[in-house]
Point group: C2
Chain length 351, copies 2
């Protein structure tokens, strides 16, 4: 498999089929691990990095995870290939932009990915559609155990798993969900969500992880504390309490809008669809913004004949690197805007 | 005929059928006249105003202009009826808002209208579709002569026709055209048009005369000087030189856009149509703005199956007083926005 093979279809975890996926688009659990006997990545020279890469690559590719697994040599990938992997959340932007021997291992259906020599020697991630954090945790725990049988992780009896950055020490776990909160945004209550997240030590980010603004009503919410709680506790609190509370707020905001301002709501939804079906040039930011409104329209049953899978697919496939990979070469922003508009039009006018 | 009878159809002069009507929507010539032996309106008391009104009403209604003529008692009309007449350009906003005995006489097809006791005792106007200023002038000259056979106008051998406001003294003529200049606006050249108008002593106004901003790429251009030139000279210069020059600029700007930025142009046109066909709430300003882009799209043959008559009709019929008259009662702005959107949608989705 090559990165370019990914540019025409949606990742399974993003297909909108999971439980509660109208609001919780997807769940992700990530573990940070390092090998004993090696310096952390920031201090590791190129030949030692190569050793770590080869060792982990061989072990992970040999695991039977019930899926074909592919190795991608990130260091020797083109910028476009790297960008495509970032857009699909398979690797981080930092991993794409780093230097030296590094790689990624990706399961065919993209539900599992491992980054080797990112900030830590190994970061493994499991993705699932909808709110399935427990399932992600169970799965990643299995994988982690399988790997741990073959390597010695850097581990301290008092602190737990050691990591390059102290914020990951302990469990090394990060759990996160991708949320679609258009009604909270529309009713001006999104600040409440931000504040609540801050108060409970959660991080809110845009669709593309650290350092990006939340755009188009999409938010990534994740834990910040990895030390002092067990993985199970972190997952349980996130999955059983925090996320359901936010989902409840969003549902209430949607009901309120439907009741108090149905015309305004329909206007926003129908305009968004109208523009998406008409535009000849559209930026990725505007597409995200408009698709968000259409997505809410479908979820609230104010629009018929359009599937969430189609909308999610458009989110993913109209990103800049996806467009260029599909075209087979780089495109200037104007051409991307035209191609994006054309793809959206043809997909949404079929319905 | 009552004002409410007007609210469902377009004025003939606004139907887009005339010569060059893609850019020059309509032509208008207006004459200001006052009766000898009466004070000018600002100094005329109510009973003398009543005399002037009755006298002019009787004379004008008796003229054979080849059209049924209707008198409207503006003083006793409802605000909604007055607003409807203003929206149709049949009377001025000042005439609607004035006090005391005053009226309007309107030809069935709205090509001729007379205001009695506006700023002057009599203001007569002739409208035609497209660039037909000479035809307007010939027509209004005939009507003026017919009236002058029956009354004595206030006239000074040196200055000409005397008027309440010195800016109208002399010929008392105002010639104007309603222009659609979307390409000059889009290419940022509209300032040139404004400056050229200023340099040649022309007034640029919005679609609704004095004191309104030009909105949605529509401009009303008229002469300001009425003294020192004959009517014929004013009409000839306007019709033969000034307007063709502006039309030429607009055509050049359209050609330039088509050549240099066809995608951008199509994007604007298609988005405008998409929003008009989708919106559930739309303000009159936004409707004007979007209909303007669609109008250009039809004129540039970038859109098919929509007629200019339909678009012009929507400009006229979706104005606030038209909507309310059609509904039979007053509507708050939200309801108007919903009704406007509904009418636009049903007319543009038929095509």
């Amino acid at each position: 498999m090559k990165p370019s093979d990914l540019s025409n279809h949606i990742s399974q975890w993003f297909d909108g089929s999971g439980p509660g996926a109208d609001i919780v688009i997807s769940s992700r659990v990530r573990l940070a691990r390092n090998l004993g006997g090696y310096e952390f990545c920031p201090c590791l020279n190129a030949s030692r990095k190569r050793e770590v890469l080869n060792k982990l690559k061989e072990i992970i590719l040999s695991l039977d995870l019930g899926q074909d697994m592919f190795f991608i040599d990130v260091d020797n990938s083109s910028t476009l290939e790297q960008d495509l992997l970032v857009e699909r959340h398979l690797i981080s932007r930092q991993h794409a932009q780093a230097k030296g021997p590094r790689g990624a291992i990706i399961a065919q259906n993209e539900s599992f990915t491992a980054m080797i020599n990112e900030e830590d020697h190994l970061r493994i991630q499991v993705f699932k559609t909808g709110l399935q954090l427990k399932e992600c945790w169970e799965r990643i725990n299995q994988v982690d155990n399988l790997i741990e049988k073959q390597v010695e992780y850097a581990f301290d009896p008092e602190y737990g798993y050691l990591t390059a950055c102290p914020t990951n020490v302990g469990t090394g776990i990060r759990v996160s969900v991708m949320l679609h909160l258009p009604a909270l945004k529309m009713t001006g209550q999104i600040e409440k969500f931000y504040n609540a997240a801050k108060d409970t030590n959660l991080a809110v980010r845009g669709l593309f992880g650290e350092g990006t603004d939340a755009v188009g009503d999409f938010f990534q919410l994740s834990n910040q504390v990895t030390l002092g709680y067990s993985e199970q506790q972190i997952v349980d609190e996130f999955s059983g309490f925090i996320v359901p509370k936010i989902v409840e707020y969003e549902i209430l905001a949607r009901e309120k809008l439907l009741k108090a301002k149905p015309d305004m709501l329909d206007d926003k939804i129908q305009r968004a669809l109208g523009v998406l079906r008409s535009a000849r040039l559209i930026s990725s930011q505007e597409a995200l913004f408009l698709l968000s409104h259409v997505r809410m329209g479908v979820n609230l049953k104010r629009l018929e004949g359009i599937s969430i899978a189609t909308i999610n697919e458009l989110f993913m496939l109209t990103q800049p690197a996806h467009l260029q990979m599909r075209q087979g070469h780089e495109l200037d922003p104007d051409r991307r805007d035209a191609m994006r508009a054309q793809i959206i039009r043809s997909r949404l006018c079929q319905n």
